[in-house]
Symmetry: C2
Subunit: 213 residues, 2 copies
Amino acid sequence: MMQVHRKREAGEEQRVPKQVDYEERRLRIAEAVCALIARSGMEAVSLRDVAAEADVSMGAVQRCFRTKEDMLLFALEHISQRVSERATQRIAATSTPQSASTLLSHTLAELALLDEESRAGAHVWLAFVSHAPASERLAAVLRETYGKLHDLVVWLIRYGQDTQEIPPHLDAAQEAHTLLAVADGLTVHVLAGHQSAETASAVLQRHVDRLVQ
Amino acid sequence: MMQVHRKREAGEEQRVPKQVDYEERRLRIAEAVCALIARSGMEAVSLRDVAAEADVSMGAVQRCFRTKEDMLLFALEHISQRVSERATQRIAATSTPQSASTLLSHTLAELALLDEESRAGAHVWLAFVSHAPASERLAAVLRETYGKLHDLVVWLIRYGQDTQEIPPHLDAAQEAHTLLAVADGLTVHVLAGHQSAETASAVLQRHVDRLVQ
DNA sequence: GCGGTTATGATGCAAGTGCATCGGAAAAGA
DNA sequence: TCTTTTCCGATGCACTTGCATCATAACCGC
C-alpha cells in the first residue's frame, strides 16, 4: 500500500525513469492486451507479445501482474469500466434535458460498441465472454458489469415512463433485458460480418422507436 | 471420392480395424473439439487434448485434418450445419400446420441455443465469432450461416404475414435482423451468466408475441 | 501365401509458452 | 561518498505447442 508516485520529479534525461507510474503502466498494458485480442484473438495473447505491443520489457509486465490471468482480468475490468463510464457520461453530460427516447438510443448505441473505434472493445468483450467459463473470476466481472448496465437501462426506461414517453404498463426490467440483448446481438452480428454498423444502429434505433411508440 | 465404408465386416478382435470410417471419425473429433471449447475455451484446444478427448491417437487427428485450422473449420461447419438443420427440421417436422407465432418462437428458441444440451454449442459458436477476425475462412463460414438463418427467419415472418398474423407493413428483413439479434444477445447473456435460460426464453417469447400483437 | 499398399500410433523437433531467477543500475539514507 | 535498498529488464527453464517423420501392422489383389 501507500504507493506514492514519485516519478519524473527531476529532469529525466531521455532514459526511462527508475520509478515508474504503475497505474499508467497497467493501463498501457491493458490497452496492449485489448489491441492484441482485437487483432488476432485471445489465444494470440502471450506475455511476450503483450510486452512488445506495450513497448515495455517482459519483466515489467510480470512486475505489474503476478500472473497472466491477473493481466487479463485487469484488462477486462478496464474495458468494462470504460464502457460503463462512457455510457453514464453520455447521460450525465447532457446539460439540456433530452427526451428519454434519444437518451435510450444513444446509450444503447454506445453499449453496442458499433462505432469503428469501439470495434476493438467489442472484440475484447466477446472474447472474454467466450473465455468466461474457463475462469470464474472473469465470469464474475462480466456478471457485475452486465448487472450495472442492466440497472442503467432500467433507470432510463423508468425515466421514460416518468416523462410519459414510454407506456407505464411495460415491465422496465424485462424491456431492459430485451434492449440489452438486441444491443449485444447486434454487436455479435457486426463482429461476425453479418451486418454493417450502419444497419445495426438502424435496427437498434427502430427498436427503441417502437418502444416509445 | 468413392469412399466405401468397409470397416468392421469381419470380427475385429479387440484391435481397431485397419480401415476406419473417416467421416465418422471427423465428426467424432469435431465433437471433441466442441466439448473442449465448451469446457475450457478455445485457447485450450490443442491437438493432443483433442485426440485424448476423442479417444484417438494424435496421428489419427493429423490424418483426418491437415492442419489445426482445418480441424477448427470443420468443427465450426459441423455445428453450423447442426444448428441450421435443427431449426429447419423443427419447422418441416410439424405435420399439422402451426401458427406462425409458435413456429417463430420455437425456431428462435432453437437458434438461441438456450436449452442445456445446446449450451456447449453456444459456447463454441461464440468462441468462433470472437476468433473469426483471426481467420478469414472461419469468418466466411459464419457469414454464410448467418445468412441462411436470416433467410429462414425472413421466410417465417413472411409466412406470418401471409396468414395475417403479422402486420403486413413490417419489413420482414428488418424484423428478422432484430429477432436474430435478440436471440444472439440472449445467448450471450446466458453464457455470461447474466440471465438464466428461463428468463431468456421468456424475453424471447414476449418479443415474438409483441411482433404478432 | 505374399509382396505392395496404406493407415496407424509413437516419437522427434523447433518454436513458443508462462513463470522464476538474477546481475546490476538507480534511488535513498548515512 | 558509500552503503543499503529497491526495482528493472534480460536470461534461464521446464513445459507445451503444431507439425513432420517413421517403423510397424493390417488389408488388398495376385
